[in-house]
Symmetry: C3
Subunit: 277 residues, 3 copies
């Protein structure tokens, strides 16, 4: 693995076009977070012809099911299909899987019919896709679904089986973030508790992950690790500024994007806090 900063530099150098099918709650922040990471976002999900044409020319596709419509299954599947014939970088953010059957089934239908590159969710959402047990509170993880030093290795073992079965990367977010493929696994300790006090941290992260993986298609796991550390470091810095200046969650949300924008390879390498498990 190269130093993490080199993956960031590839994003800035190539500025990949990231097509986002995403929810209307956090879409603005997703766009600015992708720009802040050095890539170029485009959003389209309403007109099927436009969706297919855009997915075909994009370097990566980020599918986030946060505010689905009746047409979503068709839209998502067609976009995934169009992108698969291109650079074939497909990220799935199963927002609220486990909270409603509709969401769980929509994600399973994508997973069962197409090759996805990476899934990013909280532990409840990840579980909901691969087991029949999970429960999600709206779009937040169930309080029981939490990675700790005690259960980390068994969680990783379990998730690597799923990753092998579906040949993909899994990013499970929480106080400790996990990123793994069937062969390697990392725990990431960067991040801030304020990230769960805004809407959109998870959605922004998925956009940033897509940008990093699209710019580094030959080493996707390392690129995802770099994205996760970059995002966590931005959160730490944003939290510090927010507290120092007496701001609240809305300003934190802006600072988080600001700090992605201000991030460079050196800062990423110096502050990345992860370990291979």
């Amino acid at each position: 693995m190269q130093n993490l900063g080199s993956y960031l530099e590839q994003v800035h150098k190539q500025s990949p076009l990231v097509h986002n099918i995403t929810n209307y709650v956090t879409v603005h922040d997703v766009a600015n977070a992708i720009i802040a990471s050095g890539a170029s976002p485009v959003m389209t999900d309403g007109a099927i012809e436009d969706v297919k044409a855009m997915a075909a020319i994009a370097s990566g596709l980020n599918v986030n099911i946060g505010t689905p419509t009746n047409d979503y299954e068709e839209v998502c599947l067609k976009a995934v299909e169009a992108q698969a014939q291109g650079s074939n970088i497909i990220v799935l953010d199963p927002v609220g899987a486990g909270a409603t059957e509709y969401r769980t089934n929509l994600c399973k239908s994508i997973l069962d019919t197409h090759k996805v590159s990476l899934i990013k969710g909280n532990l409840s959402e990840i579980k909901a896709l691969f087991t029949d047990e999970a429960q999600t509170k709206g779009v937040d993880a169930d309080i029981a679904d939490k990675a700790t030093e005690d259960n980390l290795d068994s969680l990783i073992e379990q998730m690597q089986m799923w990753a092998a079965q579906y040949e993909l990367i899994i990013v499970a977010t929480g106080e400790i973030d996990i990123v793994l493929d069937p062969f390697r696994a990392f725990a990431v300790y960067n991040g801030s508790p304020m990230m769960s006090e805004i809407t959109g941290s998870g959605c922004m992260l998925s956009g940033v992950l897509t940008a990093y993986v699209a710019a580094n298609p030959k080493d996707q796991l390392s690129a995802a690790l770099a994205a996760l550390c970059a995002f966590g470091i931005a959160g730490e810095r944003a939290e510090q500024l927010t507290l120092e200046r007496g701001h609240g969650n809305a300003t934190f949300s802006n600072y988080l994007i600001d700090e992605l924008y201000l991030m460079d390879a050196e800062r990423l390498d110096e502050n990345a806090d992860y370990e291979q498990r």
Copy 2:
């Protein structure tokens, strides 16, 4: 009535799940304002199965018709129906009622078929729902529709009749805010003129009202009064910071949410400025 701060504390303690059917203009701020108040937002309105499932598990439903679609009547009615079988906390924000017949009729259709807990609008919107006279300028109140010390008591008398007829709470916003049910009425003097120089103050307030009422179902009027004062105090503090630092309306909008996030029971009780009428 308990002190207002205790209603805020209930929101933080219970963190109710608030399902929002809301417009795509201000949805991001609504989500962050709900989080800032201590509750947990979820937004979904496009896929009817998902809408029904989410409304059924939510502690409260906030219906804001700001950017309606052709399916909105069905979506809103199904969501209201699903929520009514659960905790039955339903807030209606009739954005732009009076400006177009479509909006007026959509709201009347909800009101006529289901029990709504609380309606929040400017005076033009409120009038449009209960009379055939009102006119609304886009989504802003007509200039003639203004509560003053002179007409306050007669406005309250009129609105209490409507509140009795539909068995609900009415919140009418303006320079003086009014909150009432058929039995009690309060005038709230907290707030800032900058709140009408951003998009979304009204929408955020509806989300915050839903959170407070959902967390305090047994004393909904007092909870609504607490929400209104908390929101107004946040506006006053945000205005002061904005002016001191030479910012404009976009930064004010973020500070408004920040100040909701920073609010606690003590600050709310010390700064609440209202009187029973």
Copy 3:
């Protein structure tokens, strides 16, 4: 031509109602930028009856095709038709024209059937509407499509032919902005490179242009020039504050709106940097 500040003052004096059919990515900023300019925004595009009724009472219509739906052609055409029977101020922002056929054809269909007052796009988008050659990267201009001092006069000549053919104003944005009708042309040098590092600068500008033109229907070209200078000056000031304070692109985005809000006639006249060509 009057001094540019007088056009700004008309916006504040009349506070025209601007109906926006716009994308869900940047809609919040568009609303706040229109308010910051002194006008009153309303957004609606989903329910056809509501769209027609709102367009009919608005002082201007801003059609931005950034996130189209399958119904968009009908929605846009009906809105344009309704507005044409009123004040007939119609601005078209052909976001991503040239990137997909769907978008190019949608814009051409509006242009071919209705009188549009003003088109605002980057050079790639403008070319895509009037020639069969252009290519757009997602929603960003192709790198080859760039106005410089060397090609400025020939670009103007070409665009004035299109402006004459369709009887409209063209605003082409880039490092140098161009605004012209068949008879007069201006190059605008205000602006900041950070404007291309956020989502929504172009969308906000279209909203602001609509507000200025709607408030100054008898001298639309000068009004558009004033809007373009005001927006560029706001960008310059926002950039300076952002760099001084060590912020990134998200805070810049808010400062840009703040500076529109803080703009007055005097500041606009003192800092406008343009020349007639």
